[in-house]
Point group: none
Chain length 196, copies 4
DNA sequence: CATGAATGAGCATTCATTCAT
DNA sequence: AATGAATGAATGCTCATTCAT
């Protein structure tokens, strides 16, 4: 008779997981407004108290949500960073990678990008960490003379602006959906703007 | 019988005006959270009831706020559209104009960017109208062969992305402040991305 | 057809009154724990929001409650202060007066006396004002040599301690109820402790 | 097989002890509000479940806390009761003793004073037991004609009132700190009030 | 036109207590 | 004995909106 129940000392990781998933799900569907503590916990199938066992505050839950998304993406990007591909190709991969994570978590990203004012410092750090990775990439490529000579942070803004604005317009502004993959055209635009 | 009340023929547009100004003022200072119905009406010097006499809802007040800002900007841009300047110069002016309105109304814009989902159709229309103006510009320039051949809506996304992302990063991402005006460098980037 | 409804501009003082009364009533019955915002407003026949129209916080409501009770008592005591009665008689009246207000508001008093740590500054002020009145009385009597030479604040503590402890013991410690009026015996004890 | 666990014969009274100590420690530092079940158990180094293995409820833990404090004090006072000192001296010692326990456990005492209504009967008994001891003392002294003829319970109220009110005023009412010990002046006042 | 008191559902958070392990 | 995740009702408070005057 093998027991399917978790052992006493074994922390059930399910709840944290459920909470994070519920948060992303709700935010993706109905924007941040839909992601109240009540609705998150209902969606996760637990009570409000359970959230506060695992996270100090709603904000800390968001920190975890964002940290996970960005953290996973950052790992993949770090690999790319060391792959020493030609600049244009590298940028293309970078964008493809960004969209891979962006697509499933659109609203989590938007929340962070559009309302950082209200976010805690620890979330700000995760946010910056994401930016530093691009700056690192750009700086390396610049050292090899493969991209334009410009403030890497400005390059980051240009890159981030283009990459984030396009899906928004696709969604809400009437732009046609990606079809064969907008990525190519977006990479073109980014490359022209910051490439060599 | 000297009357201190406004003359019958004199339309008292004051209340609506005060409400709109109060909204922009509060949102610009303290973000969207500071612009509650209560604080808006207090700032405007009227009561909550008065707001609802003039606007169906808080949302409708925001529609008006946004319509006015974008409307005024659109007028200026329409002039530019007909001025037949060389493409690059025209784009530079266009950006300068955008920032002129954006700077004074950052939070009104951000609100729209952050939560368009919850805004009524009329706001969506205003939002699109702004985009159509750029599309019109781009199409004209394309007809003269002065910009790249690309989907004008994609150009809009690229343009909008760069233009909106840079001030954000300047503000919150640790980028150096505009100095004599980042506008030049932004225009460069935009031009490379979508110019000819 | 005389209208019984309040005029537009006329503030209905009822709600504030109801709130104050409900607070005293609940605190007197079930102690401070029974006086939650929810129960206070239910008892007053209004919703929670209504409380916050009239008071910035629950604490501010308590400030009003206490201010009213102490304020009314202080007025009566001020009269006594100027009546120039012989010390012992004056003290007796003072105690009688204290009980007159104390009896109807026992828990409001107890709350303030036993948990001042959590009270706002403005409540602290009201609290002190009550004490200053006694100190003033004691100082005057001392100047006439009718009471003992001692720190008036210590006298206040002795006076307050005796006066407040007796009803507590009557209520909860098994002391027999006042019968013909404990006041006489209490006045005796107080007089011996601080009189001349 | 060296065992690190306590020997079978050794009773592990640790948990109850830790719980009681943690409660007193927290209440003395941060008032009753700081003594939540969570913080008590964390301070004691156990979990919430452990508390409920040893006490039916939080209230029962407080009963134990209070019983211990008062019990220890009662033992000391019982010795004093049999020492047959002259009345005034005896009262002085009694007060000194009271403060010795009161000072280290101010908040435990205040809790009882503030909210006895909600405490179980067993706590009420402990509370009364404390009073009975004084009544016993007073009755003996009265039999020897060394104190006033008055209801011993009234004497208890007078005694208790003075003794409890003075430290409060010292702490919060702006009275000067005890210096070499207010005890002398307090004993004076008590003696005048109830002594012979 | 304007007032402003009242609504009532909503918010994030805390707490003593329970119970499967 | 002890664990600690989960409960669920309660807390003080905010907000856009309504309506009798």
């Amino acid at each position: 008779m093998a027991s399917t129940a978790p052992k006493p000392g074994t922390p059930k990781r399910d709840t944290k997981e459920e909470l994070v998933n519920a948060t992303i799900k709700l935010a993706s569907r109905g924007g941040m407004e839909a992601a109240s503590v009540r609705s998150i916990t209902r969606e996760a199938g637990v009570t409000e108290g359970a959230l506060y066992r695992h996270y100090r505050s709603k904000e800390q839950l968001w920190v975890e949500v964002y940290t996970r998304i960005v953290g996973a993406m950052a790992e993949d990007k770090a690999v790319l960073l060391d792959a020493d591909l030609p600049a244009r190709e590298c940028l293309g991969e970078w964008i493809r990678l960004t969209y891979a994570y962006y697509d499933g978590n659109r609203d989590a990203f938007n929340y962070v990008l559009l309302a950082p004012r209200s976010l805690s410092e620890s979330l700000g750090e995760v946010y910056e960490r994401q930016g530093r990775l691009f700056v690192e990439l750009f700086t390396r490529l610049a050292a090899r003379g493969e991209v334009r000579e410009m403030d890497p942070k400005l390059a980051l803004a240009v890159f981030g602006g283009i990459v984030l604005a396009v899906p928004r317009l696709v969604n809400e502004g009437g732009l046609e959906p990606p079809a064969s993959g907008y990525t190519e055209e977006i990479t073109d635009a980014v490359w022209r703007a910051i490439g060599n």
